[in-house]
């Protein structure tokens, strides 16, 4: 139980603090840099609505690019939807969030979650293989990409092992799972996983700049 106490207490607390501090740090470190006003006469309305438009529209690959990016897109969708399902629709996780923010929502049966978890882990492996073999990805990948992969996959794998157990005690596995989440939370704002929140800003910026021109977004 000691390890679980550590994981569920100080480790998780550290992770959450690092997550909050890192997120605010990174966002302000970017957004408080100099911003140049755009004096061009707008063709269309820019602003927050344009930002929201691209934030949502860029979730779908344009038809013109779909064929070329099909494999990676499908894997990407499955990974993200899978992550969403296992993170937010597994009842113990919902209870975790309820404990943090006081909100609760309905979950899915565990067996569904396990199934989705296995698929998600499989897709994760496929994405890693792609990264390690595709010439473009091989060239542009760095430590962040591989470390972020490990940090993302660790909670999925440790979470999937809990029901299987492999003769290891439940609370030990739970503790390892929570520790892996503490690591994930700690790393998230500092590496590329920060795209979880940066995506809104990069897409939003493009929305505001290009939509204002009436250009393709």
């Amino acid at each position: 139980m000691e390890l679980l106490d550590f994981a569920r207490g100080p480790a998780l607390q550290f992770g959450l603090y690092a997550f909050v501090i890192g997120t605010v740090w990174r966002l302000l470190g970017i957004l408080l840099l100099a911003a140049k006003p755009d004096h061009s006469a707008p063709r269309k309305r820019g602003g927050i609505l344009a930002a929201l438009k691209v934030i949502s529209s860029r979730s779908v690959t344009a038809r013109e690019f779909r064929q070329d990016t099909l494999y990676a897109s499908v894997l990407g969708y499955v990974l993200h939807i899978g992550l969403f399902v296992i993170v937010f629709l597994f009842v113990p996780h919902i209870l975790f969030f309820k404990g943090l923010i006081g909100l609760e929502w309905p979950g899915l049966p565990n067996n569904v979650i396990y199934f989705v978890g296995v698929i998600t882990a499989g897709v994760g492996v496929a994405l890693l293989l792609r990264r390690m073999t595709h010439p473009v990805l091989k060239l542009i990948s760095n430590f962040d990409d591989y470390f972020s992969w490990v940090v993302t996959m660790a909670p999925i794998i440790t979470g999937l092992i809990i029901p299987i157990r492999f003769g290891i005690r439940y609370e030990t596995l739970l503790a390892i799972h929570i520790l892996s989440i503490a690591v994930l939370l700690t790393w998230l704002p500092f590496g590329k996983l920060a795209h979880a929140f940066l995506v809104f800003f990069s897409r939003g910026t493009t929305g505001m700049v290009l939509e204002r021109r009436g250009a393709k977004t």
């Binding site: 740090w25 970017i30 957004l31 061009s40 690959t61 542009i140 760095n142 800003f201 290009l210």
Partner: protein, 455 residues
């Protein structure tokens, strides 16, 4: 910058003899007598200058998914991963992380991001200039919404200050800054050629009027190679009954300051036109068939001026669409099938895609769109200053083949565009491949089919 003067005067003239370069990937050009360290320092200083919140948002957001490669014609035709658009920004990104990112202090203190080296910058000259037309397809595929093309333009600023620009592009830009035109069009030359066109086409051309509602500018390519464009423009403006003029003190629409990465020259070149427009009290500035001029003046002009421009800026296709839609001019129907090549900076990047479609509708042609077309159109391969770079020819022809294929697939009879730079790239490609298609100008087609008896 002394070396750039030697023998590159004709760099922008595709009919002149081209420097033949067998192994383009190992060649890079240097201007000035700076030491390597000075070059790096200059590049860094000017990279850092551009790291505002917008650039930071973009440079921090990349997830290394590699999707942008699929949008880039250079990657498509070569399969070489170095042409992945975001990779072209690697030194710029590296500099950002080290110099201005939220964790810059740690990157520097712990040595996590190394200093950009002169070798890197030299190597990237090929990637930032020879193999990027700033066409912006990658900006549309990026799932993070990163405007990669805009970042390429920023990265060129540092490259220019470090004296690491392809010689020909540098020479063209310098010539444009000094002479007022990348092709040596002085005010006298401009006036001469206008007068020649006036005679040749029997059209009244307004030159240096004191006051006018519309200031019209031209690109040197048109003035020197497609002078009939000037006559066509005049014809249309006359037909519309507009109060308009050309000005010899502000006629050059192209902006090689922008393309080469010299921000000061970019401002100088834009300000010549802006000042001229203000001087004549123009309500409207009509830009010629030139893609990057639209970006430079329509979308960046106000920023050069420092406040909103006191006049409207339109591409000639927008102006024609406006005149046609409002019935101020009329055209005869053209019974032909055409395909239209969208200039990247006007359509995809500039947002004026619909204007040319409106014009084509009035012309009554059967428009056969390319696939992908419109905003997703493949670039001709000559934009962003690439067409000036001789050593990039081999690669440029490769990407042009992609363009040829998609045009042939449409089976259209005629090929139209509204950008003189695209047009000369097509002409060069046509010549190189002995291709059946000739690129025609939308402006000229409209002028040729004007219904004139209304006046």
């Amino acid at each position: 910058m002394s070396t750039s003067k030697i023998g590159y005067d004709d760099a922008y003239d595709l009919q002149a003899k081209r420097l033949s370069v067998k192994k383009p990937e190992i060649r890079y050009d240097k201007q000035g007598d700076m030491t390597d360290d000075e070059r790096v320092e200059k590049a860094m200083l000017h990279f850092v200058k551009d790291f505002g919140s917008t650039a930071a948002t973009y440079l921090d957001a990349c997830i290394h998914c590699g999707a942008c490669a699929e949008a880039c014609h250079y990657y498509k035709v070569s399969g070489d991963p170095k042409y992945t658009p975001i990779w072209k920004l690697e030194p710029f990104k590296q500099a950002y992380k080290r110099e201005a990112s939220p964790f810059a202090l740690f990157y520097r203190a712990l040595g996590l991001k190394k200093k950009v080296t002169v070798e890197q910058l030299e190597e990237w000259q090929h990637l930032l200039y020879d193999s990027c037309t700033v066409c912006g397809r990658c900006s549309l595929i990026c799932p993070m919404g990163i405007d990669i093309a805009a970042m390429i333009s920023l990265a060129r600023h540092g490259m220019f200050k470090a004296g690491l620009v392809p010689h020909e592009l540098h020479a063209v830009a310098e010539r444009a800054e000094v002479d007022g035109s990348p092709l040596g069009v002085t005010p006298t030359v401009f006036e001469d050629r206008l007068e020649w066109m006036e005679d040749e086409h029997e059209v009244d051309i307004n030159i240096d009027q004191e006051q006018a509602d519309v200031l019209v500018v031209m690109s040197s390519i048109e003035i020197q190679k497609y002078p009939q464009s000037m006559a066509a423009t005049a014809k249309i403006l006359n037909a519309a009954g507009a109060s308009w003029t050309f000005r010899t003190d502000g006629f050059e629409a192209t902006n090689f300051g922008m393309l080469s990465g010299n921000a000061e020259w970019q401002r100088d070149m834009s300000m010549r036109v802006i000042d001229a427009a203000i001087k004549v009290g123009a309500k409207k500035l009509v830009l010629p068939e030139c893609g990057h001029a639209y970006m430079a003046l329509r979308w960046m002009g106000g920023n050069m001026y420092g406040k909103p421009l006191p006049f409207e800026v339109q591409h000639i296709s927008e102006y024609m669409a406006e005149l046609l839609n409002s019935g101020k001019i009329n055209v005869n129907k053209v019974k032909q099938s055409v395909t239209y090549h969208d200039p990247c900076q006007v359509s995809r990047r500039g947002g004026a895609t619909q204007a040319s479609r409106d014009v084509l509708k009035h012309l009554g042609v059967e428009l056969r769109e390319m696939k992908p077309g419109g905003d997703y159109n493949w670039c001709c391969g000559g934009g962003g200053g690439v067409v000036t770079i001789h050593r990039a020819d081999e690669l440029r022809y490769k990407v042009f083949k992609l363009k040829m294929e998609q045009i042939e697939e449409t089976g259209a009879e005629e090929l139209l565009t509204s950008c003189a730079n695209c047009r000369q790239t097509f002409d060069d490609g046509q010549n190189h491949f002995q291709w059946k298609y000739s690129m025609e100008s939308l402006l000229e087609v409209v002028a040729d089919n004007l219904v004139e008896d209304e006046q």
